[in-house]
Symmetry: C2
């Protein structure tokens, strides 16, 4: 079985509301300039990723695009052919677009791993999403297509926030977790993002006190009164536009592009699990994520104790807590204690979402799973600037989740420095 | 490199306007029953495909869904998790949805081939699409997202028919092809479909004379006057709902499900090429398809002369002619002669689209590429009933195309009887 290496990659800026580059009605460029579209993000991140490893597009054997909803937000599907427009030498290459809701990026990485194991040597993976073409209500309707639309659309105008509000309520009522713990997750995310020039929330600040208090500035917004108190705006990931791209290689591929092993990290486990969209999950447990994680640890011959840095899918702050438990970082019901004790902060023993995660860095849906893998790589290579960890991590984990724990892609990464 | 076998598979009925099962305003069940939705098609075809090889869902290692526009026509994305709902034993499996416009099915097959070459043993591939939830104008707008929407949407209310009308006009003006030749392709498609109980056009008849004459019953419908005369309704593939599924296996996979090699066909080449969505193609030539086909012939060590049966992407009849040329069945500019001479009819030396192709069998977009592979298998195994070829073919080719020759998946198949 071919080994799979992360040779390098690039993020675009992640932008949206509250980011100074994002053009909306109060922006000085409003009416003069448009925000970049999906075509721009695909091209920009692909070109930058190839440049980051000093490779030409001609060196690429295959490519994958992770995207959830281009045909909705941008009226554009057929995204493989859109990526082929990024460079004249990409034209003619075999390119797939893969979709698994918010796990689209992780699925793209996993497909690329299979492609290398099947004989490809240089594979480009681009995750991208543009969501700010529509207002929040329309966007929520689009995103609800990641749930079982016919059955779940009407639980709330904001379907996904409601699904995770249900989890938050159950957690507060039945486990160690409190609303303050969710606020701690939020404050950590913003604090990390404030150190990250690429993050959507690079300059917007969110203290623990502000996150903990539902207020006009940090409203609860669900219509369903029973769930409403359990989810504040500060608990939500961002509606971001952005892209992340990585170049994955076999050993032969590294030779082709002239990249040394020590410049790389290695993907030592790649696992996907998919649960039924018609089943309702246990609100206290990410069962499908547990399945994927257990397979990944087995594939790598590692356990949760070996993980030194992680990127987990904090689509909503309660999910960060559930992720700690599903990934084996904390016992069931006790994930929140890790936040309370600062264990997953930048200076803690197991830093999680060092660049800000989905809440702080942002969540351009299809980009997120690719971003996670690149973030682990960047921490391993000392490329994270102000949020660089003091101790370079040797083993990292990425957990990218689609829908309400319906698709999970787990990648374990080992540094080769 | 692991060998990849087609163990079996199943089609749903392909239905839509002019099919007796399709419920619309003149149907006796109108208002009482609904047409099946995407969830139904995914489940039905997956369950039937597994039954066709007497395998349980538990035996499946991985699965792929080919679908273009579920989030538009059915407000449903996250289709891997929807497939996981098809059988309790599919839950937890790794499942990807792949998209490449009308080549989504072929891309799903190609991804499954990579998965087997990467170590999976039993892979389920389901292609499905439901398009009849919307009227033709809305549908045309959705399908235009397979082109470069911003640049090409406004060439005509029916974007894709117009793109292929441009090709038809150039062909008629500059090559051997005539409008009568396109009518011959249409009449062949309907004639074959009339022998196929699963076909959308199983009972609707289209003679050469009717196809050749633009009339109230067979109108030209483009708004662009320059192109309008070059495309009649009879030249178009169908707006179908339907699904096709196949089970692909490694040799170990065949042992697991208890299937003999002689019950299988083998995929001996799997190639994808993707052209830039921002480039305008030569109207007389499917350059990207040529790229994919040449790679496939090279991979299999075969040439066009070895092909004994083919499934080609006749999204519009002129494209069937261009496919003959791109695949090397006929010299450039002379593909139409094959139709005139009956060479690709059921009793000709190289039968093409024996079950009716996209024009006659129908074109549920994401299903088509999967259907093609299964059709070749069924011809090899004598499963085609009234349209079974007299001489069992030993080598078959599938050419599945997305957009205006922007993504092409080519598969070469060898019988193992």
């Amino acid at each position: 079985m071919a080994r799979v290496f992360i040779a390098g990659g690039a993020h675009s800026k992640y932008i949206g509301k509250f980011h100074s580059d994002f053009i909306w009605k109060k922006h000085p460029d409003f009416g003069k300039k448009e925000n970049p579209d999906l075509e721009w993000y695909l091209r920009e991140s692909a070109v930058d990723a190839l440049a980051s490893v000093a490779a030409t597009a001609a060196a690429v054997d295959k490519a994958f695009v992770g995207n959830f909803a281009g045909e909705l937000f941008g009226k554009q599907g057929h995204l493989g052919a859109m990526l082929a427009a990024a460079d004249p030498d990409l034209a003619g290459k075999p390119i797939w677009r893969v979709e698994g809701a918010c796990a689209s990026g992780g699925l793209a990485i996993a497909a690329a791993v299979d492609a290398i194991r099947a004989g490809s040597d240089v594979v480009l993976v681009v995750g991208a999403e543009v969501q700010n073409t529509e207002n929040a209500k329309v966007g929520a309707d689009y995103l609800a297509r990641a749930a079982h639309y016919k059955r779940q659309r009407d639980i709330d105008p904001f379907t996904f926030p409601a699904l995770f509000g249900i989890r938050a309520k159950a957690m507060v009522e039945q486990t160690e977790a409190t609303m303050d713990d969710f606020a701690r997750a939020s404050a950590k995310a913003y604090s990390n993002a404030n150190k990250n020039p690429l993050a959507h929330m690079t300059s917007y600040q969110m203290s623990f006190e502000m996150a903990a208090l539902a207020s006009d500035k940090n409203p609860v917004f669900l219509s369903n009164e029973a769930i409403k108190p359990y989810l504040r705006v500060s608990d939500c990931s961002q509606v971001s536009d952005g892209a992340s791209a990585v170049v994955l290689c076999s050993e032969k591929g590294l030779e082709r592009i002239g990249r040394e092993l020590t410049q790389c990290s290695e993907i030592i486990a790649s696992q996907v699990a998919t649960a039924s969209l018609t089943a309702d999950p246990d609100p206290l447990c990410l069962e499908n994520t547990i399945t994927a994680a257990q397979r990944a640890y087995k594939e790598a011959g590692l356990s949760a104790y070996d993980v030194q840095v992680a990127e987990v899918h904090d689509c909503f702050t309660p999910n960060e807590v559930l992720m700690y438990e599903a990934l084996g970082f904390a016992p069931a019901g006790q994930g929140a204690l890790m936040l309370r004790e600062g264990q997953t902060s930048l200076d803690g023993p197991l830093p999680v979402n060092t660049g800000g995660g989905l809440v702080g860095f942002g969540h351009p849906v299809g980009a997120t799973g690719v971003k996670q893998v690149l973030e682990i790589y960047r921490q391993m290579k000392g490329q994270c600037g102000e949020y660089q960890l003091a101790k370079t991590p040797g083993i990292g984990l990425c957990a990218n989740m689609g829908g309400d724990d319906r698709t999970t892609a787990i990648h374990l990464v080992r540094d080769l420095t």
